[in-house]
Structure formats: structure tokens, C-alpha cells
Subunit: 235 residues, 2 copies
């Protein structure tokens, strides 16, 4: 029987590459996706398509995090726009920060993993070329791994761990890895405002465009998006 | 303005004492309660009454943890019964263990705390006289506190921490503390099967009865329960 893994699959590019990485390592992948009040439902649609193509199972869980404090959850808030990669890097924690998000996702993933006998939890976090979220770095993930190893039965018995194969990679390297693994980039959603095509203006689109350019890969979404009339990022 | 705290309030005895402890320290208490598919709804009812009496706010969140693996979530499963405190202590992780439960609760509490500007998260965990859950010890809670301090903006800035004032106390000491703080013991629910009166047979009721006896305090629930005809623990 194949080893089981739980993969956090948002529907974004990084998590899609992570799923294909785990699949390529031979895992039977059980994906978790969260509907936590994002501005758009495009990510969940995208996660569903990617999981289906990868032959993985997917569960979408509703999470009732209706406390405000993030422009990602508040339709009335303004998303950061037109910042350069350098401005994003220097800008500290952005307004799209959702407090404790990865800790919530990882803790539910750990519970699910233990219940289904999966030994590995995959998360596509990385701190290079990312948006200054505090819950994406290697140090943070090592601490969370220690929590799992101390606070779950499977972890204490050495049967559960957190893996973040992208942690030390830049966006261009992630895209290069994804290309080698056959990731369907056209199904991934990066834009904070949703929509099919990158708006090109929000932090996530800026970093995606930079990554594809540096990797020397054409972004199929950018191609399809040009002149498509799809809505750009909400102001 | 009073300092805000988030208090995990299950409706059980330990969390009620913790709420009164935080209240006594002068905090404006925002309680979180979770409906995660327990066998009974008595805990949430109880949490609501206790919070109201303490003048605290309460939010109950639905959590879709429908994966099995715990007798606490599976109506068809058998609860452990008639074990002595010594057997409970030696018995390791019991079947009522819900994988990763406190990590999920604490991570959502951290998110909520950061969103409302609360600096302290209170949890009524303790490892003395408890049921062998891996996510109730001091070592585990210190690790989780480190996750919060590294993985949230408020934590990095030194404005968020986890507090577990009962951690080193035995059940009798907790009951003694609760009596001094004016905790309404008659509103707390301990029995794994729910119901108003302790069944006296499940691990939780055995430990509750031992605690009240050792503290020299009469359990108002046990008094009301005797001969009340309330349903005992489900087999």
C-alpha cells in the first residue's frame, strides 16, 4: 500500500507544485483545502481541478474565521497594488496577512493525517520571494513540527512530521521544479482578487510574473489573460 | 480600557476555573467554544451559561472534523468505563483522544486574539490527574507558545502569549481554586456522555469525583444527579 500524505492545497501555484512533488515521491495524496471567507471562490475551484488531474483526493473544509483584520477576508478593504518585488520584500507583513492562518491549516492537517494514518503533511511554504508572512519561514515550520511531535500520539511515536519541500526555493526555482513535474500552471490561481487571469498589480501577481520571467517559462495564465476582459484586482 | 484575553471555554470544569482566573486578573474575557461533533451538545450549553454568569463574551465555532478515530466523536464507539484513577493514569492515550485538538483550538484562538487585539490566550490544560492526552502538558504548551511567538505578527512583537494557569495543579487543587474564585460548579459538564449529572463511570467522571473528594468539596452536580434518572454514559 502506498504511504499516505496530507497536502495543503490552496489552488495556488506553490501548493500545486507541492502536490506534484509529493505525488512524484510516490505518496497517496489526500489534499485539504479551506474555505475561510476569502474574497473569491476561485482558489477552491482551482484546487478541485488540480487534485482531480493529479489523481488525488480533496476535502474542502469551511472555517468560520469571520473576524476581520485582513484585506484578504474583507471585501471592503484595499489590496496592496503596484508594489515592486523590492517594495514587497521590504514592506513587512502585508494587509493580506490572515492571523495564524498556516498554524490553523497545519493543525487541522495534523488531526486529519493522524486520523487517516498519513505520516507526512506537505505545505508549500517558502520565504524567498514571498510576501513577508510570519508563518512561512523555516524556523516557524520547525517549531510547528516540534508541536506535532510533542502534541499528537502519532508524532510522539515518530509517525507524523511536517514537510515543506519548497522552503528554501525562490519563485523561479519553484516554477522550474513545477515544469519538470508537469504541474498544470494554467489551473493555478495566484491573484488575490481571484479571476482567471493575473491582474498583474497585486503582490501575488507581481511575484508570480517575476518568477515566470526569471525561470524563462511562459505563464499560460498571463497569455490567456491578455485582453480577456477578466476583472482586475478589486480596488 | 481593560486588557483583553481569549479564553478557551469548553463548558467543562477546568475551563470554567480558567475563565474565572482570567476574570479575577482583570481581563475583558472573550471566550471561544467549539462544536466539533462531540457526542452531545451539553458542553456548548454549559459554556454559554458560564460565560453569561461571568460577564464574558462567547463565540461558538463549528469545526468540521468529521474524520473518525475518537470515541468522543463517534456515537457508535465505546467509551472507557469504570477505570480507577490509577488505571486511567497508567492507561496511556485513551480512546477519547481527538487528534490535534488543543493545537487546533489554540491556533484558532491565536488568530482570534490577534484580530481583536487580545494579548493572552488562556487554556485550562493540566497534566496532573488528567487522562493521558499528549496535548495537555507543560512541554507541549511551551512549544505551541513558541509557534505563536514566531508565526504571528503580534507574537513576533511580543504582544501575544499562551497562558495555562492550571498546568501544574491536580484536580483537587483546581477545584479548591475554583471554589475561592466563585466558579459555578453546578453549570460545568464533565461527563463524556453529556447529561446533567456525572455518570460516575467514564474517565472524566472518575477524575472529577476523585478531585471533589480530595478537595473536601461537595460536587453540586453529583448531589443533583443522584437518583435523578438522567441518562448515564452511553455504552
Amino acid at each position: 500500500m502506498k504511504r499516505r500524505a496530507v497536502v495543503l492545497l490552496s489552488g495556488g501555484l506553490d501548493s500545486a507544485v507541492t502536490l506534484y512533488y509529493a505525488k512524484n515521491e510516490g505518496y497517496d495524496c489526500h489534499c485539504l483545502n479551506f474555505d475561510y471567507g476569502q474574497r473569491h471562490g476561485a482558489e477552491t475551484e482551482s484546487a478541485r481541478s488540480i487534485a482531480r488531474l493529479a489523481g488525488a483526493r480533496l476535502r474542502t473544509l469551511m472555517l468560520d474565521l469571520d473576524w476581520k483584520g485582513s484585506s484578504l477576508l474583507d471585501p471592503a478593504a484595499t489590496l496592496p497594488r503596484r508594489r515592486s518585488p523590492e517594495e514587497i520584500r521590504r514592506g513587512g507583513t502585508p494587509s493580506t496577512y490572515v492571523p495564524g492562518r498556516n498554524t490553523i491549516f497545519l493543525s487541522i492537517a495534523a488531526s486529519f493525517a493522524e486520523a487517516i494514518g498519513a505520516g507526512d503533511i506537505f505545505i508549500g511554504a517558502h520565504s524567498e520571494d514571498s510576501s513577508g508572512y510570519p508563518d512561512c519561514g523555516a524556523g516557524y515550520l520547525e517549531l510547528f513540527d516540534a508541536v506535532i511531535r510533542a502534541g499528537t500520539k502519532a508524532g510522539i511515536e515518530g509517525r507524523l512530521r511536517v514537510r515543506s519541500p519548497l522552503i528554501a526555493l525562490g519563485k523561479a526555482q519553484i516554477i522550474g521544479l513545477g515544469r519538470r513535474l508537469g504541474v498544470p500552471f494554467e489551473m493555478t490561481v495566484s491573484c488575490y482578487a481571484g479571476g482567471g487571469a493575473p491582474c498583474g498589480e497585486c503582490d501575488s501577481c507581481v511575484l508570480r510574473a517575476k518568477g515566470f520571467k526569471e525561470a524563462g517559462v511562459e505563464d499560460p495564465l498571463a497569455r490567456s489573460g491578455r485582453g480577456s476582459g477578466l476583472a482586475p484586482c478589486a480596488k
